[in-house]
């Protein structure tokens, strides 16, 4: 299930949706939040822009790619846009699988790929004003490492 939404999500509800099947031995979830420091500036909030239509397509492609590589049962990807304050939830990734290794790998793959492929852009609101974030080399490296590992 893929959702791109302005509203917050409730992890408890998402967990319940994921956890219903007896064939799954493993459930791995990731939540990314707005945190208070990034590159030395104190962050008060974020404005998140995205490309409606393309975002959903890319997330769906990433999910399909993960399913090619690992035996997954349920996959949930939720990403918010709009204005978010400090501590708010940005993104939820949840996967279930018979096997824990697959669940961990797929969950990390999904967030790594989302970070470098999905058309979202963050503008940070700091005490020094607002600035568009630059893409991080470490995120590109993470995505590239999967590429090397899986091909």
């Amino acid at each position: 299930m893929i959702k791109v939404q302005k509203n917050d999500f409730v992890v408890a509800d998402e967990y319940l949706r994921l956890a219903g099947d007896n064939q799954d031995g493993a459930i791995v979830t990731f939540v990314g939040k707005v945190r208070d420091f990034n590159e030395g500036l104190d962050v008060q909030g974020l404005s998140l822009e995205h490309y409606p239509g393309m975002t959903e397509k890319v997330l769906s492609d990433i999910e399909n790619k993960a399913r090619e590589h690992w035996p997954l049962n349920k996959v949930t990807i939720i990403h918010r846009f709009g204005n978010l304050t400090l501590g708010e939830q940005i993104v939820f990734i949840g996967v279930t699988s018979p096997h824990r290794k697959a669940a961990f790998a797929a969950c990390e793959f999904l967030i790594d790929f989302l970070k470098t492929k999905a058309p979202f852009w963050k503008k940070e609101l700091t005490s020094d004003g607002s600035i568009w974030l630059d893409a991080k080399a470490s995120d590109n490296d993470a995505s590239q490492q999967w590429h090397n590992k899986l091909t």
């Binding site: 940005i90 989302l114 970070k115 492929k117 058309p119 979202f120 974030l133």
Partner: protein, 82 residues
Amino acid sequence: MIKILFFARLREQLSTDSLTIAARENLTTELIRQQLAETDDVWNKIMSPDSLLVAVNQEISDWYQQVNDGDEVAFFPPVTGG
């Protein structure tokens, strides 16, 4: 007609989120970029190919992709979600 979209830093710096251009024979993503860059000095700087990404019909593309009448072409900086 071809619909052109701009996102994030580009949208702000160009003070526009979309425009349309006429379709023509043998149009490519690179030719559209060049055409937009010729608008004025501001556009020339912002539409330079460094750190610029392009998508055609909501799929990430390269600079050699053919663009046809009715296509949607988007320009944006490297993504920073998650």
